[in-house]
């Protein structure tokens, strides 16, 4: 399934000083995939759009930190 959160597994050496983080993540925000915005895309209601920071549903991609309740785990 498509996600804007990508993962990779860096090399872990037996001599690394810190406990290894086996999976590293990065973000590929939706704007990378859109190209020139086509007409008539689905919109949020105006009130919702003001809160979310965008009118356009395809561009809404919120980011949560590790200390937040609605975080779905390590920024994913």
């Amino acid at each position: 399934m498509f996600t804007t959160r990508k993962q990779y597994m860096p090399y872990v050496s037996p001599f690394d000083p810190c406990p290894p983080i086996h999976v590293k993540t990065y973000v590929t925000a939706p704007n990378l995939y859109a190209g020139f915005q086509p007409p008539n895309l689905p919109q949020f209601s105006l009130h919702e759009a003001l809160k979310k920071g965008t009118l356009w549903k395809i561009f809404y991609d919120p980011y949560y930190g590790p200390y937040e309740v609605n975080n779905k785990g390590d920024g994913l």
Partner: protein, 189 residues
């Protein structure tokens, strides 16, 4: 010319007195990829870019000033009632001895803002590509600050600002497409 609306673009709420977060947030105030650098970069590039995209630079440059104001409010709220002892614990004693609780344009490491953070190459594609990179770097910076922050109210505002970076990047990418003048043409190179 500008018309000023005496309100923030998005409400800024801060739930805990945590001057350490102010130390991180100041990166978006006077840092290389911060809102001040963004506003100055875009508003300055407007003069030497094709007419079709001047309006975009004006709009986004203006919005960056609104973001700057939000960051300033966050930093102010996080520090205004902090004691010198708390500021010392947060690692911003050096800022306090120079500025008291005044805001100053420097980055999270205390390096003062410099015009070398922004470029104006005069080449429309080079300048727009710099703008796209700046938006993605600002988006990443917001992610790293959100990762460091345990204040849900503050994060709500930061999430809004991060979303705006995504939209700005999208619009700059579209500006490049406009300048390429090959939109909607079924042609393959």
């Amino acid at each position: 010319m500008w018309i000023y609306e005496k309100k923030l673009q998005y409400p800024v709420r801060v739930s805990t007195c945590n001057p350490k977060l102010a130390k991180y947030l100041i990166e978006q105030y006077g840092g290389a990829d911060g809102e001040l650098a963004a506003a100055l970069r875009y508003l300055n590039q407007r003069y030497s870019i094709p007419d079709k995209v001047i309006g975009l630079l004006t709009d986004i440059g203006t919005e960056e000033l609104a973001h700057l104001e939000m960051i300033a409010t966050m930093v102010y709220k996080l520090t205004k009632d902090a004691t010198p002892e708390q500021l010392k614990e947060a690692g911003i004693a050096p800022h306090y001895v120079d500025h008291d609780r005044a805001l100053f344009y420097h980055n999270a490491a205390g390096v003062p803002f410099t015009a070398t953070y922004i470029q104006a190459k005069g080449d429309p594609i080079a300048d727009l590509y710099e703008d796209i990179a700046a938006e993605e770097k600002a988006r990443a910076t917001y992610q790293w600050i959100i990762n460091m922050s345990d204040d849900p109210d503050l994060n709500d505002g930061l999430r809004f600002l991060r979303e705006r970076e995504i939209i700005h990047s999208q619009r700059f990418r579209e500006a490049v497409e406009i300048l390429k003048e090959e939109r909607d043409r079924k042609k393959f190179f």
